[in-house]
């Protein structure tokens, strides 16, 4: 019997819940092989130790605990529910933000578009073309024009740019030209983009543009 066969024999005996002491083949090989003798001794100790393992008594009220818990409704909140709630919250927040931006920035109706020729230093009624709702030409609307409208509107309203530009309301600079790369211009361009998109949508909803 070699060492491999000997170990297989040990497992066979233990699998059948036999005793290691009652097998002469195991003892014979163990006398010839020091490694297997050590394994045999430690296996004996292991099984003796397993038999000595103590388990403290379980809670005698376990049955009451279980039945009491069974009577309470099961609280089951799945991870999926948290995910759905998170996505819904984000979507709601995004929708509210977009809506707030549109309500805050969009004028109530298409603003009059002023075309000013160079030989007229001041705008007059002759140089003004008023576009009524529904009959504007989408080709006449471009981003620069809307930015221009935004600046003019901003200049006419006290206090609006204060927060964005940091200029005090009483500084008297409300009518000063906006900085090319300032925050208000970035916002204006963003709003203009949104506004142009909205106008495109409205124009498409009204039908093909009139020529």
């Amino acid at each position: 019997m070699n060492c491999r066969e000997w170990e297989a024999r040990i497992n066979e005996v233990l699998d059948n819940r036999g005793s290691l002491d009652g097998d002469p083949e195991l003892a014979r090989h163990a006398r010839e092989c020091a490694i297997c003798a050590g394994l045999l001794a430690s296996t004996r100790e292991l099984l003796a130790g397993v038999a000595l393992l103590d388990v403290p008594p379980c809670d005698p009220q376990m049955a009451d605990r279980v039945i009491r818990e069974l009577r309470t409704p099961e609280r089951r909140v799945s991870v999926g529910l948290y995910r759905v709630a998170a996505v819904a919250s984000l979507a709601t927040a995004a929708a509210l933000l977009l809506g707030a931006m549109l309500v805050f920035t969009a004028p109530e109706g298409p603003a009059p578009i002023v075309e000013q020729t160079e030989d007229l230093p001041q705008p007059s009624s002759e140089g003004v073309a008023v576009v009524q709702p529904g009959d504007f030409n989408r080709d006449d609307l471009d981003r620069d024009m809307v930015v221009k409208l935004w600046r003019e509107t901003r200049e006419s309203v006290d206090g609006i740019p204060t927060l964005l530009t940091g200029q005090p309301e009483s500084s008297g600079d409300a009518a000063a030209p906006a900085q090319p790369d300032g925050g208000i211009d970035g916002l204006a361009e963003s709003v203009a983009g949104s506004f142009g998109f909205l106008l495109d949508v409205l124009a498409d909803a009204d039908g093909p543009p009139q020529s």
């Binding site: 394994l39 001794a41 100790e45 099984l47 103590d54 388990v55 376990m62 039945i67």
Partner: protein
């Protein structure tokens, strides 16, 4: 499965709480013993035992009457223990054998040599992979057959045998390396 257990299960299914309490009383030792060995912490083991019975009662209608009840029950207990163990990655693992009344306690009446052996066996159990430990405990401590363990763990008998053999070998090696054999024999 004995007729008594079958009848208890029938009564449990009918909502008889007295029968539920009897079923818990009948098996709480087995379940708690396994949980305690796998978790090494009395409070955790009691929690896992409670969760096991809750799951058993909630899933009792799906239980196949042709199977033995105890392996099914212990498989649920093993699953609960594995869940507890995985949740421990987020908190420190309790130390064993500190004798502070909460963790694995050695309040046993064993003499010093035996107490040391028990400690070493518990440490050796700690070194095992989860599936090895569970298979070893079910075979040697709970005295389940390989077929029952295979049914409980949902794996072939050959796999269970391999796990138990490896667990025995690793634990015997641990005991030999720790010099327990010589000290005990002295």
């Amino acid at each position: 499965m004995s007729e008594d257990v079958r009848e208890l299960i029938d009564r449990c299914l009918a909502g008889d709480t007295v029968a539920m309490a009897e079923l818990v009383e009948l098996y709480r030792g087995h379940v708690f013993g396994l949980c305690y060995r796998m978790l090494g912490h009395r409070q955790d083991a009691e929690d896992a035992t409670q969760e096991t019975f809750l799951r058993v009662f909630r899933a009792l209608r799906t239980y196949d009457r042709d199977r033995d009840f105890r392996p099914w029950l212990l498989a649920i207990a093993g699953n609960r223990c594995r869940s507890h163990i995985s949740s421990r990655y987020r908190r420190p693992r309790p130390r064993r054998l500190t004798g502070d009344g909460d963790e694995m306690v050695d309040g046993s009446p064993h003499p010093a040599g035996e107490r040391e052996l028990v400690e070493e066996v518990e440490l050796a159990l700690d070194q095992l992979r989860e599936e090895y430990r569970q298979a070893f405990l079910l075979f040697h401590e709970q005295q389940l057959s390989y077929a029952e363990i295979g049914e409980a763990l949902g794996c072939p008998v050959g796999t269970v045998k391999t796990w138990v053999h490896r667990a025995r070998r690793e634990m015997a090696e641990w005991i030999r390396r720790r010099g327990v054999v010589e000290e005990v024999e002295r």
